[in-house]
Amino acid sequence: MKISSPEFKNNACNALDDNQLQGALRHVRKNFVKKRADARRDLPEFDALRDSARAIKDHTLAHLDLYLEHYEKKVIESGGKVHWATNAAEARGIIMDICRKSNARTVTKGKSMITEEISLNEFLEANEIQPVETDLGEYIIQLRGENPSHIIAPAVHLNMDQIRDEFRKAHTHLPAERSMDEPETLLREARQILRDKFLSADVGITGANFLVAETGSSLIVTNEGNGDLTQIIPRIHVVVASIEKIVPTLEDMAQITRVLARSATGQETTVYSTLSTGPKRKTDEDGPEEYHVVLLDNGRSSMLGTEFSEMLRCIRCGACMNHCPVYQAIGGHAYGWVYPGPMGSVLTPTLIGIDKAGHLPNASTFCGRCEAVCPMHIPLPKMMRFWREREFEQHLSAPSHRRNLTLWAWFAKHPSLYRFVTSIGMRILAIWGGSAKRINWLPMAGGWTKFRVLPAPEGPTFIRQYQRAKRNAR
């Protein structure tokens, strides 16, 4: 996937100017937030389950090597194969080998962020294998040549008109004058078209929400059923999963799935939760003949034990972005790579480098909502602060930014001068604000005021008021 994180500022400006996108983002603000709150209210044990989920992941990460070994043993016992990949290129190579050996020409795919992370689709296409995304949202954005803008609702940035146009353009074998006024009609059309793809695909590739060490199983949770058709119809099922997806037992998995669906969509559970263990058995009449797991590290083993270690607890529920005022305002594409929102602001720099993704941890108001709603208690703001510090230490922030900070630091160390300058500044701003007491434009801060209104300062500064109050109290 092309990285546009360095252009974050531009991306964000464009997003704010995009009326259609702003309309679509209203759904995020409205639906996701409310549904999660309702789901949490309906389960008194929700917070206790969050603590339990965190403890399970912490224990697992502290024994990650051993659980991975156990998991591998169980997969092999059930007739599956485990392939280890230290980085994206290795993972792509492994998948390509599997496809080549079976002369695969088409691949159906269940929704998987990890295959976005390794840019699998571009790679398969370049090798003349056609990847078909089968999750409705993923299918739509694949038609549009876009990337997902949300980790669980990949097409959340689009409205119905755009989807209809795309279907008319892509499905040219259908009568042009057909009615497409209802979302149901669009869904039926996609169902019809993808049905044939499911039935004719050579290989099915899915991600995994969890890998269960106890049984050597992969679990996927979906609502559409596309992931299941992907993993039972083709002759070969390939699971791509990163190493931190592992949980010890089925019980541990259930603790975490209880908070996963509720945090993601507000559902008690998704429609389908499916455990796959090895290829089909001798007496089975359907199911894949081969079962492969590609275990991807891609920098994660080096995150262990660092200040970013806790990020490895992430279960990709999307709650942090749904509740983030920055994500709600600019959507996912502005972040410029696979993972948007607060979790992306922490994860992206570890995966593509802080030099490219430095803007992301800075795009935060530090309101703390992401951490408050994260089912895995991941301290996202703290980690974004770590990145800011690293960026500053490595002299990666813009010179003007650094100059201003240095200037501010100098003033802050000279309190009387600081007070003098700020009081002048405030008086000017108060006059600038006029009778409306609102500032809609400021020289050298046009980018800021373009989307915000600055309330003009009223009355004396805090220090002044404090001193006056102290005097009066005497």
């Binding site: 097409a155 989807i163 089925l250 429609v271 034990g305």
Partner: protein, 228 residues
């Protein structure tokens, strides 16, 4: 060093360097063995204030947009199925697996539906499966793969009918794992375990929930209250 060893040794290195008193490798191995062996349950939602389990199951099944009915025997189940097909203007043609319990279904004389067995090729309107269990906590059916109930029947038809024996209803997921372990042995599972809660759906178009995405459009759950 191959990739496997590289990853594992990198994990060990990261863990050792960050945890000053990382327990000995024997202790760590024991902790892992113990957890997998004892599979502790953690926090279980308390359903005791909710109504009877069967009522809860029905409530949750219906909340998942599936339809629900309860019959006294497999003989009655057959009648219920035929009635359901008529009601929904569906052809009297059903695909099912080789589950022995299906033998007890007694179709009405003269109008017995056409029965096909084996996996689905995607052309079936109606498929019938027998669940191994049901989870009252969420109204979920647990189906295990095999010639008895091929997995494709759960996903390819437009209408899916699932029978579940009342005796196999469990309160929560944890009880259902217990039943699976009893059936398959420790650390083993059928190729596929499907936990199904309602018909398939999507909310990918403007977050409007629409039933019937890639899986069944309709799901009918029949609880059979007959001792096995």
């Amino acid at each position: 060093m191959n990739s496997r060893d590289k990853i594992l040794s990198n994990i060990r290195q990261s863990l050792t360097s960050s945890q000053k008193n990382l327990s000995s490798s024997d202790e760590r191995k024991q902790a892992v063995r113990r957890r997998i062996g004892s599979h502790p349950r953690g926090i279980i939602p308390d359903l005791s204030s909710k109504h009877k389990l069967l009522t809860l199951f029905q409530e949750k099944v219906e909340a998942s947009e599936a339809s629900y009915s309860k019959v006294k025997s497999y003989v009655d189940a057959a009648a219920e199925i035929q009635q359901y097909l008529r009601q929904h203007n569906l052809p009297q043609r059903i695909r099912m697996g080789k589950d022995k319990r299906f033998k007890k279904l007694k179709w009405g004389k003269g109008d017995s539906p056409q029965i096909q067995t084996g996996p689905s090729d995607g052309k079936d309107f109606v498929c019938l499966s027998h669940a191994q269990g049901g989870i009252c906590e969420t109204g979920t059916l647990v189906l295990t793969s095999g010639p008895d109930n091929p997995t494709s029947l759960n996903f390819l038809p437009e209408t899916h009918i699932i029978l579940v024996n009342k005796k196999d209803l469990q309160e929560n997921y944890e009880d259902s794992w217990k039943a699976l372990r009893r059936g398959f042995g420790r650390g083993k599972l059928s190729r596929t375990v499907n936990m199904i809660t309602g018909p398939s759906r999507s909310a990918d178009i403007e977050q409007t929930l629409i039933l019937g995405a890639h899986g069944p459009l309709r799901l009918h759950v029949i609880v059979v209250d007959e001792a096995k």
